[in-house]
């Protein structure tokens, strides 16, 4: 299994992360490196891998930043860029928000395939980052069927 594609799975801490975890069977047994914004998430990942008897996944935490914190966003972007350069994933998959968007943009430059899964929290319209991500995602998904459009985003299911 270790010859399969290398996955980088990215989500900011909180609801985005909870949704990413619910999708983890999609990369079960593949090489995976997780990226989030809370260092406290690492131990739980390691414990879970041990319980499941699978290789310990990679984990890296980047700076947390809201959309108004320009300096912190810049730091976050640089951290993500270094991680993508170091890990060289074949595929980047993210449920948002800012770190996922950055990973997707940087990943593209390094030739990775990219998957954006817009958060279920956006039931009325796509998130701002979700709208911007569309052009840079090889697979662009909404989790609400009524938000799917012929030109994307597509609907393939939801985490709930």
């Amino acid at each position: 299994m270790q010859d399969g594609p290398k996955i980088m799975a990215v989500a900011s801490a909180g609801g985005h992360w909870v949704q990413l975890m619910r999708l983890s069977p999609a990369w079960h047994g593949l090489r995976v490196c997780y990226v989030s914004t809370d260092p406290g998430l690492g131990p739980a990942l390691r414990a879970r891998a041990e319980a499941e008897g699978v290789p310990e996944p990679g984990f890296a935490a980047v700076t947390e930043a809201s959309r108004w914190e320009k300096r912190r966003l810049l730091v976050q972007l640089l951290q993500i860029a270094l991680l993508v350069r170091r890990e060289r994933p074949d595929v980047i998959v993210t449920t948002g928000a800012a770190p996922g968007y950055f990973a997707l943009r940087v990943g593209r430059l390094f030739g990775a395939r990219t998957v954006w899964i817009d958060s279920m929290a956006n039931a009325e319209e796509l998130s701002l980052s979700g709208r911007k991500a569309g052009r840079h995602a090889d697979l662009w998904l909404t989790q609400w069927e009524h938000l799917a459009r012929p030109g994307g985003p597509q609907f393939m299911g939801s985490v709930l």
Binding site: G4, P5, G14, V18, Q19, R22, V93, N122, G157, L160
Partner: protein
């Protein structure tokens, strides 16, 4: 035990006040409530009728969540998914942008889309909170509490896997 959580990003004063008033109005003995209550810079309401902490580390948060009979929170997807997975009846009050509780009204949309789901009780505002709490507490006593699997539907994750491995 009722676990109230406001998250750690934006205070939710309206929910904290309503919860505090509900506890105060209950006949003795007062129900056990613990709150994770983020205070704002000014004018925030610190609970008077139950124990609380402004922040909890992930382990303490998980322990309180696990011990809770009912969880009370904003209408965020993380809380909703965690509560449904743990079989915890959940009362949610959506944050309102007009009151400075969030940057937009997406929680109202989420709450409306998920309304009626077993295990989820939507309090549109403070006045609806007591009724929702009563229904959630009654649900918590049932042996067949609704619970969702810990991961997404295999139809979705299989399709995603096919794409990740280049077969999709």
């Amino acid at each position: 035990m009722i676990f109230l959580t406001t998250g750690t990003q934006i205070p939710f004063d309206r929910l904290v006040r309503a919860m505090d008033a509900w506890v105060a109005a209950r006949p003795a003995p007062a129900p056990e409530v613990f709150g994770q209550v983020l205070l704002g810079k000014t004018g925030s309401h610190a609970p008077r009728n139950f124990d609380w902490a402004e922040r909890l580390d992930p382990e303490r948060y998980a322990a309180l969540f696990a011990r809770a009979d009912v969880v009370v929170a904003h209408a965020g997807m993380g809380t909703i998914l965690t509560a449904l997975t743990g079989g915890k009846p959940l009362v949610v009050m959506p944050r309102r942008a007009a009151l400075g509780e969030h940057r937009n009204d997406h929680q109202i949309a989420t709450a409306n889309r998920l309304r009626g789901r077993a295990g989820l009780h939507v309090a549109d505002d403070e006045t609806a909170l007591p009724g929702c709490l009563d229904r959630a507490l009654a649900e918590a006593r049932r042996p067949d509490r609704p619970v969702i699997p810990p991961v997404a539907d295999p139809g979705f994750t299989d399709a995603l896997r096919a794409f990740l491995t280049g077969r999709g």
